[in-house]
């Protein structure tokens, strides 16, 4: 026994000069690997469970999933569709993730996205502007819309300590029914036969990035840019640091002099603005007008996306792709196998359940590690 050397172990030797690393240090990699493994396992478990449900319904799960895959990635137009679908999902997921980083659970992404999309659309219809300016104006309007929709819940949280979970859920309903009223009574299209607004001007439409048959619009670039900016903000800036500190430990943050209330307030507003932008990219990129139920539940999908991505902005890109692909492939699956496209919502719900049973998965992984590869 050499306790002396044992004691010195761990003490740092002469400090190495900090050098640039291309690969993150092993601890980080291992931690990230574990997180990724948990998410992947949750995803696989949901697909398997979904397959069992399909089998119970009397559908061959392999045929159904094959159709889903075909519809998602089987052709250039399918790929393009998947990517276009991804765009609002990325922003919704990013919105939820940013909120979580700052310790607010923004369930109001749906409402903020609806309001943001509406404002972006109205700017696209009613503001005459040159093409170079028109899109930025629409995007700004939508972000402002999302932000405003998050403002009251954020203010209530800051001043009255009202839980944002409740207020933002309520605001989803307000947004939904307000939209219904507005498209029927106020901003009606000329023909009047649809409960929808006019189409937006050509100058407000997102141009194509990749031409037909892919037909991918520029929105994907905007979404990726948003991810990059948010990632930089969170990881590299002092405000991001404060937001993360607040998200991990409010007590330690306030004890260190960080204004926790303000950080949560700002996290919720930022989250709202991102959600609003998501609405705009959907409207100005693919739909071109707002109608009553134009969002197929992007807010809820955003929660699943962020959960699966462990609130990592870059990972949101990946998980949003998964959900975009499923949503896009669902139509073909419905046509060829008769399984309702709402099946995708079931899988989405399963993913949330499995990610939330993270501790169970960790336990499984640990067990697998202990027994070698037997269960892996």
């Amino acid at each position: 026994m050499k306790p002396q050397t044992l004691e010195r172990e761990g003490a740092s030797p002469a400090p190495k000069p900090p050098r640039k690393r291309l690969i993150p240090p092993p601890e980080k990699l291992r931690a990230a690997g574990l997180e990724a493994a948990i998410s992947l396992l949750a995803f696989v478990l949901s697909i398997v469970t979904g397959g069992i449900i399909l089998a119970i319904l009397g559908v061959n799960p392999f045929t159904a999933y094959a159709a889903l895959f075909q519809g998602a990635l089987g052709s250039p137009s399918a790929i393009g569709g998947t990517i276009n679908r991804m765009i609002p999902i990325i922003l919704a997921g990013l919105a939820v993730a940013v909120g979580q980083k700052g310790s607010v659970f923004n369930i109001g992404v749906e409402g903020q996205l609806i309001v943001g999309g509406l404002l972006g659309c109205l700017a696209g219809i009613y503001i005459p502007a040159p093409a170079a300016l028109h899109l930025p104006i629409c995007m700004l309007a939508s972000m402002l819309g999302g932000l405003l929709w998050a403002l009251i819940p954020a203010w209530l949280r800051l001043k009255k300590n009202v839980g944002e979970v409740f207020t933002t859920i309520m605001f989803n309903y307000v947004a939904k029914f307000l939209l219904g009223y507005l498209v029927v009574k106020v901003f009606v299209n000329a023909g009047g036969q649809l409960s929808a607004t006019e189409k937006i001007r050509d100058s407000a439409r997102l141009p194509a990035l990749v031409a037909k048959p892919y037909n991918i619009n520029v929105g994907i670039l905007v979404a990726v840019l948003a991810v990059v900016l948010v990632a930089i903000f969170i990881q590299k800036t002092r405000w991001g640091y404060e937001m993360r500190a607040t998200g991990y430990n409010r007590d330690a943050s306030s004890s260190a002099g960080i204004n926790v209330g303000r950080n949560m307030f700002l996290a919720l507003l930022l989250s709202g603005a991102l959600a609003g932008l998501g609405g705009c990219l959907e409207i100005n990129g693919t739909v071109f007008r707002v109608f009553e139920s134009y969002s197929p539940g992007y807010g809820a999908t955003g929660i699943a996306v962020a959960l699966l991505a462990k609130n990592n902005p870059v990972a949101v890109l990946l998980t949003a792709f998964l959900f975009g692909a499923m949503r896009n492939g669902a139509a073909l699956m419905q046509m060829s196998t008769g399984v309702s496209s709402e099946f995708v919502s079931i899988v989405q719900g399963l993913i949330i359940i499995f990610v939330c049973s993270e501790n169970f998965i960790r336990y499984l992984l640990k067990k697998a590690q202990k027994r070698g590869v037997k269960y892996a």
């Binding site: 240090p25 002092r238 640091y241 404060e242 500190a245 260190a256």
Partner: protein, 515 residues
């Protein structure tokens, strides 16, 4: 003294990554008070857990009264005449003493509990050992000391011959500790065998017949107390010489008033006045210890000073400026470093890396920023490396989450960070709580170092030993008032204890009884 009543042979217990007990041999004689001394994490609790049937050893055997036994659960242990008083009491506050004691061993018929008989039995036990417990009162009405005695009665009622006490004095005041020691002696004299687990050497020295020292899961030695002393035990426990109290002190030239608290009152949101007119001055180059029984207004005073709360009346002037109503951040900027009591709650973001924790609260300072917005990776790294070296933070990698470090190293992160901004004043709240001796002496050294540099150190501590070892002056807080400030010259624990309990107030000082 009798034969070996307990004999542990080659007890080994391995947890993932740690050998908690490494071939431990221990013999306890009938009718002795045998102390088990060791630092936190040395393996004392694991060993007692094994003896009490809470855990199973991987190797080794347990002999009770010369016969090998297998203790699969505490139930087995109790059947063999073992009893344990845990550090955290296991009592139901709404039940009476009797109800608590007989729980699981009710006397009487199937349908009816024979309370009078149980009460009588408990009353007799209490009298025999001088515990002074009324079996009919509710536990919630009892003080901590009395609750501890109920725990003792509980195991005596179960006919225990061997009594194990796990850090029993942690919750007691000095007077209460004296009484507690008397009780232990009485128990021993009536033939009980006592195993006393502690890392407080003063008590170990006072009551033990023999002491076994454990370090890193191994027995370092068993000594008759008459042949050893505290200093030797400390050296055995740590494995090298430790010196508590922080070492050499220098007189500083400028000993001006740094912090001036005048007539401060604080009424909490329930309308209860928790601070009732505190006057206190902290000078440069001194360590002012604030002693008191927990819950006499320390927490409120700490929060007032660091900016978490605003006083209802009075002024707190720090460096000549009134800080009443200033934010935590502003006060921090003025030069107050705070070592909070709860490392995990207030001191660290456990999910953050060591590197990130070392700038917590300073992330907005120009020295860590590029363009005023971006954290400068290089400077953050330099800061972390420098502090890691200066404060000997052992963390393997600076990327490791702070939550993965030992308590001592976590505390080093906090102290390193708070000292790194060269503050004028340091407020240290229970800075050595839960640390092992090596880390305790490190922390105390740093406090004295700060004092010698001409900073003011305000030390809140519930450990009187620490207050007496480290402070230049001692203020005693009682019921929201500073009832006494004394120079730390020839002050005894008993004197302090008397002030802490409000029994030794001087005439005309304060009225403390209007709570």
């Amino acid at each position: 003294m009798g034969e070996d009543i307990i004999k542990l042979q080659g007890i080994t217990k391995v947890f993932p990554g740690v050998v908690a007990n490494d071939h431990i041999d221990l013999s306890v004689r009938r009718g002795e008070i045998h102390s088990l001394a060791g630092e936190n994490g040395a393996g004392k609790s694991t060993l007692m857990g094994i003896l009490y049937g809470l855990q199973q050893p991987d190797e080794g055997s347990i002999l009770l009264r010369g016969e090998e036994v297998r203790l699969a659960s505490p139930k087995d242990a109790i059947r063999h005449g073992l009893g344990m008083v845990h550090q955290h009491f296991m009592l139901i506050p709404k039940f009476t003493v009797t109800q608590n004691i007989i729980l699981g061993m009710e006397v009487g018929s199937r349908l009816r509990i024979d309370y009078p008989r149980a009460e009588e039995e408990i009353r007799q036990l209490s009298q025999r050992y001088g515990l002074g417990i009324d079996p009919t009162v509710r536990v919630s009405e009892l003080s901590v000391t009395m609750q501890q005695r109920v725990e003792i009665l509980k195991i005596l009622y179960r006919k225990a011959e061997i009594l194990i006490f796990d850090e029993p004095t942690a919750v007691l005041t000095p007077q209460e500790i004296d009484e507690f020691c008397d009780i232990l002696t009485r128990l021993r004299d009536s033939g009980k065998t006592i195993l006393f687990i502690s890392h407080k050497l003063a008590e170990v020295e006072k009551i033990s017949d023999r002491v076994t020292v454990i370090r890193r899961g191994r027995v370092v030695g068993t000594l008759p107390m008459a042949e050893t002393n505290q200093q030797e035990l400390a050296t055995l426990m740590v494995g090298r010489e430790v010196r508590l109290g922080g070492g050499a002190r220098r007189q500083v030239e400028d000993s001006g008033v740094l912090l001036d608290i005048r007539g401060v009152h604080y009424v909490n949101h329930h309308g209860v006045e928790r601070i009732k007119g505190v006057d206190l001055q902290l000078h440069r180059g001194e360590i002012l210890g604030v002693a008191g029984v927990d819950g006499n207004g320390q927490e409120e005073l700490e929060n007032l000073l660091c900016g978490k709360r605003k006083p209802s009346a009075g002024t707190i002037s720090f460096l000549g400026q009134d800080i009443a109503g200033k934010s935590v951040k502003e006060i921090k900027k003025m030069g107050m470093g705070v070592i909070f009591e709860d490392r995990h709650k207030d001191g660290l973001v456990l999910d953050f890396s060591v590197r990130e924790n070392l700038i917590l609260g300073f992330q907005d300072q120009r020295r860590f920023l590029k363009a005023g917005v971006f954290l400068d990776k290089k400077k953050v790294e330099e800061n972390a490396r420098r502090l890691q070296e200066d404060f000997d933070i052992r963390c393997g990698s600076l990327d490791a989450p702070a939550g993965k470090l030992s308590g001592g190293n976590q505390q080093k992160i906090i102290i390193a960070r708070e000292m790194s901004s060269d503050p004028e004043m340091v407020m240290a709240i229970q800075p050595t709580r839960g640390l092992d001796l090596g880390a305790v002496s490190f922390v105390q050294d740093k406090l004295v170092e700060a004092r010698n540099q001409g900073k003011g150190v305000l030390l809140f501590s519930l450990e009187l030993d620490e207050v007496l070892q480290v402070s230049d002056r001692i203020a005693v807080i009682f019921k929201g008032q500073i009832v006494k400030v004394l120079k730390n010259e020839g002050v005894t624990k008993e004197q302090l204890g008397a002030y802490m309990l409000g029994v030794a107030q001087e005439e005309g000082l304060h009225e403390a009884a209007n709570a």
